[in-house]
């Protein structure tokens, strides 16, 4: 694909701003949603693991 053909495609017939704004905002939103979901899951596991470890330490003393 030539540079001209690419920039022709990327310009979306004068509507490039709108098309890329819609797709860009969607990509960022979905990415944040998935990252947030994964982080919440891992945080829950980590928090509980820390609690369990702390309890074990208390018991052994």
């Amino acid at each position: 694909m030539s540079v001209e053909a690419f920039s022709e495609w990327a310009s979306m017939g004068r509507h490039g701003l709108y098309v890329w704004l819609a797709y860009g905002s969607s990509f960022v939103t979905l990415l944040l949603l998935v990252i947030g979901t994964r982080m919440a899951f891992r945080r829950a596991l980590r928090d509980i693991a820390a609690d369990v470890a702390a309890e074990q330490e208390n018991e052994s003393q």
């Binding site: 495609w9 979306m12 017939g13 004068r14 509507h15 490039g16 709108y18 098309v19 704004l21 819609a22 797709y23 905002s25 969607s26 939103t29 979905l30 944040l32 949603l33 998935v34 947030g36 979901t37 994964r38 919440a40 899951f41 829950a44 596991l45 980590r46 509980i48 693991a49 609690d51 369990v52």
Partner: protein
């Protein structure tokens, strides 16, 4: 028919759900990634431009799946509320907690991409007299309300019941969104898909279909992952969760 009753009872068990749904979470996650990537590239590169709207039409491939799944998420929320009130199934409340952030994000994104599409198509970002737009904004406020209500009530059981009642009451808004383009004069175009016909040629609707299915897979992934997170938090003192976090491979 026995398997239906068995599955229903098992669904009520947090431990069973946590274990059984792990592969589904992964499957939905991978399917969502693949389908949304394929559908979006297809819509942006290979699908033809609309003869009236030109290339701004391509926003449909991300806007329509987003708003469809935002409404489906709300219907799931209402159904979960009903299950909670009728059968007092605690897992229904876990589902409600998991759905709200997803629905909120999807509705907000749907409103935003709709505004971005409206600007080149109708010449305006927003129109207060348009029933489709305003009823979708109400959907966003319902999600905000459900989030705020849970934060406002400290007793978990009361919060669950209050959220269930609000979720069910809010279901009234769903047919209003759906039929708003038929009941009132609106800038918004009619439905793209209906049970009887598809108002588009195949080269245009196939990528849309791929993205709709992809977005439902994303809904499945986020809902299962957040339900499993909520289960861990609620069951943290039970022996099976303590055993689970002790295993080195889950840390």
């Amino acid at each position: 028919m026995g398997w239906i009753t068995t599955t229903w009872h098992r669904l009520g068990s947090p431990r069973w759900f946590y274990g059984m749904m792990a592969p589904w979470q992964t499957g939905f996650g991978i399917a969502a990634l693949v389908l949304l990537a394929v559908g979006s590239v297809w819509g942006l590169v290979w699908a033809p431009a609309d003869y009236q709207q030109g290339d701004s039409f391509r926003i449909i491939y991300i806007h329509v799946p987003t708003v469809i799944v935002a409404q489906s998420a709300y219907m799931t929320l209402g159904a979960a509320g009903l299950v909670l009130l009728v059968w007092r199934m605690k897992m229904a409340d876990v589902a409600m907690v998991a759905i709200v952030p997803f629905g909120m994000a999807m509705t907000a994104l749907g409103l935003f991409t709709g505004a971005v599409w409206g600007r080149p198509t109708w010449g305006t970002w927003w129109e207060w007299t348009d029933a489709r737009l305003v009823s979708t904004l109400i959907l966003l406020f319902l999600y905000f309300g459900l989030h705020a209500l849970r934060q406002a009530i400290p007793a978990a059981e009361s919060a669950a019941r209050a959220c269930a009642v609000l979720a069910i009451a809010g279901l009234v808004n769903i047919p209003i969104i759906k039929y708003s383009v038929e009941w009132w004069t609106t800038l918004h175009q009619g439905s793209t898909f209906s049970m009887r016909r598809i108002n588009m040629p195949a080269v245009m609707y196939l990528p849309l279909l791929v993205n709709v299915i992809g977005m439902y897979c994303l809904f499945g992934y986020v809902m299962i992952a957040r339900m499993r997170t909520e289960i861990l938090r609620r069951e943290r003192d039970t022996s099976w969760v303590v055993e689970l976090v002790r295993r080195p491979d889950v840390r």
